[in-house]
């Protein structure tokens, strides 16, 4: 995973709530067996509308997504995170994220930033007024900066450290392999097994 410390880029406002992962990437785009190439499927149904916000020229090359509440609900497909990243997004800002989406995003280094609805609204309005506005998401200082707006966001220290170091979760867990083995020695023998013998 690439480390995330601070990111500055232009943002696009997606004025919708409850953006489920079926909208982020429809099922028909999930058939690849790689982690790349999912950008074509990103918001595929909506992008077929020429007026959809991502199709507007002033938002070409954006890397920050501003969205309404309950972003990433529904299916657990991590393809939603890959599609956003493959398209060029580094961070998503929303008043509320679905749990599984947030977890997936954090694994892949796509930073989900949760801010109050009023602040997200202010950011959307600022970007709509000036699409060239640069927005900075600073994980080191835990704040978002855009024009005159400077607003802190919350993230737990452990997750922040892991993202800033770009650490692989599996590698971290395997440092405790002995504890896993010890735990296994205490599991009851009647627990279910998928293989017999």
């Amino acid at each position: 995973m690439d480390a995330f410390t601070t990111h500055t880029g232009r943002a696009v406002p997606l004025r919708r709530s409850n953006v489920d992962t079926d909208q982020i990437i429809p099922a028909s785009y999930l058939k690849r067996v790689t982690r790349s190439g999912f950008e074509d499927g990103l918001f595929a149904a909506w992008r077929s509308d020429p007026d959809f916000v991502l199709n507007q020229p002033q938002y070409a090359g954006v890397s920050i997504l501003l969205a309404g509440p309950d972003f990433g609900t529904g299916s657990s497909r991590e393809h939603a995170v890959w599609a956003l990243q493959n398209y060029g997004f580094r961070t998503v800002i929303s008043p509320r994220f679905a749990d599984i989406f947030r977890g997936n995003a954090l694994k892949g280094g796509l930073l989900p930033v949760q801010l109050d609805e009023a602040i997200v609204e202010a950011l959307m309005a600022a970007v709509e007024a000036d699409p060239s506005l640069e927005v900075t998401v600073d994980l080191d200082l835990k704040e978002v900066r855009a024009g005159d707006v400077v607003t802190p966001f919350e993230i737990d220290d452990y997750t922040r450290w892991r993202l800033m170091e770009g650490l692989d979760d599996i590698g971290l867990t395997l440092r405790h392999a002995d504890e896993v083995t010890e735990f296994e020695s205490r599991r009851p023998s009647w627990k279910p097994r998928t293989l017999v013998g």
Binding site: S17, A27, R77, R96, T173, E179, V180
Partner: protein
């Protein structure tokens, strides 16, 4: 471990199961949780196996891992190669990965193949007090047994394959208590749709829900699975129901359930998996079962539901601006006019199946409605069993004869039109009554419009061509 022996703080069911699986707990870090059962399917696993290969890591516990083909599989001509080359690649990739890493796989045509959340319980692998994960958000289904079960992303699939653990922050707990018995004609599906409409699609975010109360206790295991299945539709990663005699009776004798002395030991442990009387939930919701009725959705998220006897709501009925905008968008997408009686809505397709309502009990309900009735001429009706075992059981009971005599199509097992990754899809503008769990825009096919319903309502709707409660059929 999560707690010391002399710590007698009252705990909820979720806390007990969680504590029993903590491998490592350190201040300032997520708990490292042991996973008892890992279910795999073809869509969310290829990149995870790839990751293992790249890092040269084996699957740590193949004996706690099981795979099935479900999301992509066709439901006709399953003895032929899959026609869609991309679906075929995905299924072939799963077969290669399982062979290479030594994972048990139930392929198309195999007697134990089926939707991942149908086969776990029916094999007896899903048991009270176990932790279950799968790269699929409806893993919450398994919570019906008092298991702690939740969906994970592909990176987490790789993590579990490599380590049999997951680092997780313990969610908060929410009790949803349904007081009194369900009224006649009200099913588990109606109950859960009503719950989601009440608490909203984000209401359960950050929580594990425990469903309690008389109405929940009275549900069969199938009904409990339907309820827990849709926990994720309320935003909760997991939903649980404490195990009881209904649970034990369902499990006894299943292929992977404990037997003999092990059974007694297991049951003794399972009986401890109750929320302590004075345990405190972070949030409590109480629902009066007497107020429930058959429930259906009108919009494009599972929280947009109303009683079948009600009308399509007006956007101005919603207090929150974001709900109002969502309702406006949904009405346009669904091509509905506010104020229309729900029972006036005509459908083109009825889909009966999925991990929500593709079990034998669901099919029996449908057969009861269709005995001596025919489905309407202009309605396409698909009945897709959740697994091969469900299919065989239905055929042993003669249900398939009733389905085909009524004019419905009786298919092979799989996810099918629940998400339309296989050829079973809605065409643009087509409208369905569906026993599945998601009415998102385009979920059943681009431009398709979905109304979520119970199996009974689906069957009655197939007969009249309009959303219909079975009790109103002549």
């Amino acid at each position: 471990m999560g707690r010391t022996l002399d710590d007698h703080t009252p705990r909820t069911l979720a806390q007990k199961v969680w504590d029993d699986h903590v491998v490592r707990r350190t201040e300032g870090e997520p708990d490292l949780l042991y996973i008892d059962l890992h279910l795999i399917h073809e869509v969310t696993s290829p990149q995870a196996f790839d990751g293992l290969r790249l890092a040269g890591r084996p699957v740590r516990r193949t004996d706690l891992t099981i795979a099935t083909e479900d999301h992509n599989v066709p439901t006709v001509d399953i003895d032929q190669p899959i026609a869609d080359p991309v679906s075929r690649t995905q299924v072939d990739t799963l077969r290669r990965n399982c062979a290479e890493f030594g994972v048990r796989l139930h392929s198309m045509g195999d007697a134990s193949q089926g939707i991942v959340h149908v086969i776990g319980p029916q094999l007896g692998l899903t048991q009270p007090g176990v932790t279950v994960v799968c790269g699929d958000s409806h893993t919450s289904t398994h919570g019906a047994f008092g298991a702690l079960a939740f969906g994970i992303g592909t990176s987490e699939v790789e993590h579990v394959l490599a380590t049999q653990t997951l680092p997780l922050v313990r969610p908060k707990t929410m009790a949803i208590t349904v007081e009194g018995p369900l009224p006649l004609g009200v099913t588990a599906k109606d109950l859960v749709l009503a719950i989601i409409a009440r608490i909203g699609t984000g209401g359960g975010q950050g929580y594990i829900i425990e469903y309690r109360g008389e109405a929940v206790r009275q549900l069969s295991m199938e009904g409990r699975m339907t309820v827990c299945n849709m926990s994720i539709e309320a935003g909760a990663r997991a939903g649980m129901i404490a195990p009881d005699e209904t649970t034990f009776a369902y499990l006894k004798g299943r292929p992977s359930a404990p037997s003999d002395a092990d059974w007694d030991e297991a049951v003794a442990y399972w009986r401890t998996l109750q929320t302590d009387d004075d345990a405190v939930f972070d949030k409590e919701v109480v629902i009066d079962a007497a107020e429930l009725a058959p429930f259906v959705t009108w919009g494009t998220n599972p929280g947009q539901g109303v009683p079948l006897s009600a009308n399509v709501p007006f956007p101005t009925d919603f207090a929150e601006p974001s709900d109002r905008t969502a309702a406006e968008r949904a009405l346009v997408y669904m091509d509905l006019t506010a104020g229309t009686p729900m029972t006036d809505i005509a459908v083109d397709t009825v889909f009966i199946g999925s991990c929500t309502n593709g079990r034998i009990e669901d099919l029996r309900v449908v057969a009861d409605v269709w005995r001596d009735r025919k489905v309407a001429d202009n309605v396409r009706v698909l009945v897709v069993p959740g697994s091969v075992m469900v299919r065989l059981q239905a055929e042993a009971e003669g249900l398939d004869k009733i389905f085909t005599a009524a004019g419905a199509e009786w298919r092979q097992a799989g996810c099918s039109m629940c998400l339309g990754m296989n050829p079973d899809t809605l065409s643009p503008g087509e409208r369905s009554a569906s026993t599945s769990n998601r009415n998102f825009e385009g979920r059943q096919g681009p431009g398709g419009r979905t109304h979520l319903v119970s199996p009974g309502v689906a069957a009655a709707t197939a007969v009249t061509g309009k959303l219909t409660a079975p009790s109103t059929l002549s």
